[in-house]
Symmetry: C2
Subunit: 190 residues, 2 copies
């Protein structure tokens, strides 16, 4: 099929998170989906944050942040945390806030899975900073684990698509990674 | 609920892509899911690639790469592209390769949605490089568009979860972003 040319404002589906950081002297949370793991050893994860955001300022000042994964029942509160600045509203009042091992990385007890990070590197870009954190620990509700690991069928992460701006759940299990392609590998020239 | 402490090897669901770059003198593709948008103006997207990979070398040499989004019907070939090095196999032979406006950014006609980038910045990390590209154009099959924009209900992107290492489709539409939280916003102190 011939391809149609599109403008660049395209985003693959991305995980919805609430980024926790200290801001204006209190725990603050913003919604963000421009998130990815970027390294193994140490375990690194990054989130891109607009220069305007209080959260970026908080991460720079404290050297710490968290990423909490809300389920569908938190979609309204999560979206609200993307609509309103922590300079104007005490968004932490919406949640039970807890801390783990990293000072200044507030997390949300209502989120079934949270990660806490120390700041590893801040990559300055034209309108955003990509904050790379070193994951120090994860914190999960016991009932979302299978064999001691987070099970997406139980914790029901949200995904964001743009430019249609919609939240989604995860769907069906299609195949297993580092496995589904093995049959093709057998047939390859050695 | 009390939280259970987990080791840091956790990944939220991430979009599965095939990264296209020139390598060993020919188009080459590797599977990668550590991908996120990181900027608006210019439109920036990044992918984290292990230092061992031929793809990283190709991106550095050519200053270009692509990200193509496979659907479920390509899951075996996609997984194969994560199992085998382009130094050993001609992975481009699996696909119809095309080029858009960026030289040295090979794309896959069987993928319903592809993006082509010039290299904007390479962020060196301990075992990976986070390659940030400036998106020059998207290329889509006409039948995956709704109102001229890619429609995930039609192009059926794959997601990867780790450490369980499974591929998934996207599920149900939960709510609309920058909208679902408006009711909460109305109730906030002004």
């Amino acid at each position: 099929m011939e391809k149609v040319r599109l403008d660049p404002e395209i985003l693959p589906p991305m995980p919805v998170t609430l980024v926790g950081a200290m801001g204006a002297g209190r725990p603050n949370f913003m919604a963000a989906a421009w998130v990815t793991r970027v390294g193994h050893k140490p375990p690194l994860i990054g989130v891109s944050i607009n220069h305007r955001q209080l959260t970026g300022q908080g991460i720079r000042e404290s050297g710490a942040f968290s990423l909490c994964l809300p389920g569908p029942e938190l979609v309204e509160k999560t979206d609200y945390c993307g609509l309103v600045s922590g300079r104007k509203a005490d968004k932490a009042a919406l949640f039970d806030v807890f801390f783990g091992e990293v000072a200044a990385a507030p997390m949300i007890r209502q989120c079934p899975l949270c990660l806490e990070m120390t700041l590893f590197q801040a990559v300055d870009l034209p309108h955003h900073t990509f904050f790379i954190g070193e994951i120090k620990a994860g914190w999960a509700d016991g009932d979302i684990l299978t064999g001691g690991k987070p099970d997406v069928a139980k914790y029901k992460p949200l995904l964001l698509t743009m430019p249609d701006n919609r939240y989604w759940t995860l769907g069906d299990h299609v195949a297993d990674a580092w496995n589904a392609g093995k049959a093709l590998k057998k047939g390859e020239p050695q």
